[in-house]
């Protein structure tokens, strides 16, 4: 064996070591949360990489709390409603922005881009006032309304990008047949836009599911909270003796759906994340 072959083998080993390192770095915190959640409270403070005795007490404890079940229900309600509204308003707006030339189009796009860069805190007091005025304080509907501030701009943006790529012959044929713009959207474009809508819907879902600041500020009682707030407040009270077992169990419960979504739809998510930024 000569030096060149040796160098080649060393390179391959180094490469795979790096891959393993990246995998461990990415997955370990989640893995460790799963391990912790499966430990009985007596074992909690012994560091181990594999639970020596399996135990589901932490899961039983969080699922027997009605406030946690309510929080899961609220999160699902809010996330699905937000996705539905963002896609509904987004698809019509993106038709207008992607297929029709009109004066003021670039101004509208500039406004959308501007809104997507808003710091959430900058609108906090104004939005608080709006939500109170509409009588939606401490109500999931208030969260659904407020989440459009970050889901709508990027939904419109990405859908506009996809809408532009569709061939114009389709639309010309529809116009020749006398279809109104509404018919053109629902009958011609909608069937073709499903992949793009799935991608943006997924990203909007994840964003709404994970949101914290508005959920913390615009809700007051346990029954109206979403999961991130419920988990953050499990640790509330004193800074000592946090209920780490239940916190980790709750964390695993809310994360598993997302991890599954990511693994199934990773290609879509990647294309959605990069669609706006790279393709232009």
């Amino acid at each position: 064996m000569n030096t060149r072959q040796l160098a080649k083998i060393a390179k391959r080993i180094g490469f795979w070591a790096l891959i393993v390192l990246i995998m461990v770095y990415a997955v370990f915190p989640f893995y460790y949360a799963v391990v912790t959640s499966l430990k009985p409270s007596s074992d909690l403070f012994r560091v181990e990489l594999w639970p020596s005795n399996w135990n589901f007490d932490n899961y039983i404890s969080i699922f027997s709390q009605t406030s946690f079940l309510r929080a899961i229900f609220n999160s699902i309600l809010v996330a699905f409603s937000v996705v539905f509204i963002a896609l509904l308003l987004g698809i019509t707006a993106s038709y207008a922005l992607g297929r029709v030339r009109f004066r003021g189009r670039s101004t509208v796009l500039l406004v959308i881009l501007g809104v997507s860069m808003f710091p959430q805190v900058a609108v906090l007091s104004g939005l608080f006032e709006v939500i109170r005025a509409l009588n939606l304080y401490n109500n999931p509907a208030g969260l659904i309304l407020s989440y459009t501030i970050f889901t709508l701009p990027f939904t419109v943006w990405v859908l506009t990008t996809f809408m532009k790529q569709l061939p114009m012959e389709l639309e010309e044929a529809a116009i020749m047949d006398g279809a109104t713009p509404w018919i053109t959207i629902t009958k011609v474009f909608l069937p073709l836009m499903w992949p793009a809508m799935a991608t943006t819907g997924l990203l909007a879902f994840i964003a709404a599911w994970n949101e914290f600041l508005f959920a913390l500020t615009f809700t007051l009682t346990d029954a109206q909270r979403t999961v991130p707030v419920a988990i953050a407040l499990l640790s509330g009270g004193s800074a000592y003796e946090l209920p780490w077992g239940p916190i980790m169990a709750a964390s695993v419960v809310v994360t598993v759906p997302l991890v599954v979504l990511v693994i199934i739809f990773q290609r879509r998510i990647v294309s959605g994340l990069t669609a706006g930024a790279v393709k232009g």
């Binding site: 990246i22 989640f30 406004v111 906090l124 007091s125 104004g126 990647v270 994340l273 232009g280």
Partner: protein, 327 residues
């Protein structure tokens, strides 16, 4: 998050296929009318949740409004920002905690975004290589991005726990430290704990943007470089890096804008400790916990101005043209 900034030198991916009937035809007029009709719901929604609240926040910052009674607000001019009274300065701009939070935010943003870019590029280069199981590795890398920030903060808080955390356990096992470190409680280490969590969570985003750019690079110049026997590192700095710079710039601006408004990770990991407090945490504390809507709105307005200024400065310095939905 993923809005588009198109650079001059970005590859012309999507050409516009917008139909252009002749000006003034009936069809065209009908289409323009329909376009505005279709835009209306979105514009109304954005006015309701973004435009109007922003205007109200500006307005409230000049009042003494309190959370318990928003209606009973009196205009007090610039008193929330800066006022000289009885030999002392008052207001957000005279508050040392505010300036501390500004410094914390800037420090956090610069350090974490720099680390994310370096590690993001490394991960992207690896994912760009052909190897078995690449799909699995890519899915694994995406996991931190999908985990809610609150959950990642809690998971890391547990791993960084001073007495029972695995990180102290491992570091002591390796002999790096003699005594456990109170990562999230000590003024010295808590900012690093926050940065650690943020870097872990956002490397995937940077890596994916860079990976998308890498996959569009022409293969032939790499083959040429290999034939000429040029060192891979040299190829990276002379060929790859200049070509992916536009994508990197996009990733950096999104990450910077995100980092400047950071809230969740700091709030959960270190609550309201002043040694890590960001501008968003400061503004929310004034607004909600101290119920001082006027003062909190002033802080929010300053945060908004800082981010707007940072965006303008970045675009000016980078001399990158924002091309809106280009034709």
């Amino acid at each position: 998050m993923s809005t588009s900034i198109k650079h001059d030198d970005a590859p012309a991916g999507a050409r516009s296929f917008t139909t252009k009937p002749r000006r003034g035809t009936k069809v065209r007029r009908q289409r323009v009318k329909a376009a505005w009709l279709f835009l209306a719901p979105m514009l109304i929604a954005l006015t309701l949740v973004a435009g109007w609240p922003l205007v109200r926040t500006f307005f409230l910052s000049f009042t003494d409004a309190s959370l318990s009674d928003l209606g009973a607000a009196n205009l007090i001019g610039f008193e929330n920002y800066l006022v000289y009274d009885d030999g002392r300065w008052y207001g957000v701009l005279a508050d040392s905690v505010w300036w501390q939070s500004v410094w914390n935010t800037v420090y956090f943003s610069v350090v974490s975004v720099s680390l994310e870019v370096v590690f993001g590029v490394i991960v992207a280069l690896i994912l760009n290589a052909e190897f078995k199981g690449r799909v699995i590795v890519r899915a694994a890398v995406l996991i931190p991005w999908a985990i809610p920030t609150i959950v990642s903060a809690q998971m890391w808080a547990w791993m960084l726990n001073d007495q029972f955390g695995i990180i102290n356990h491992m570091l002591m096992g390796l002999g790096v430290i003699d005594a456990p470190i109170a990562w999230t409680a000590s003024a010295t280490y808590s900012m690093w704990a926050v940065i650690m969590v943020d870097v872990w969570k956002t490397i995937p985003f940077v890596a994916l943007l860079v990976l998308a750019a890498l996959q569009m690079l022409p293969k032939d110049c790499y083959e040429a470089a290999e034939v000429d026997g040029i060192h891979p590192l040299r190829v990276f700095f002379k060929v790859t890096l200049p070509l992916i710079t536009p994508a990197l710039m996009v990733a950096v601006i999104f990450r910077l804008l995100d980092a400047l408004r950071v809230f969740d990770v700091i709030y959960v990991l270190t609550s309201n400790s002043t040694s890590t407090m960001s501008m968003s945490v400061y503004a929310r504390q004034q607004l909600v916990e101290f119920q001082d809507v006027g003062y909190g709105s002033a802080a929010s307005t300053l945060l908004f101005l800082i981010i707007a200024l940072a965006t303008v400065a970045y675009l000016y310095v980078g001399r990158k043209q924002i091309q809106l939905g280009g034709d």
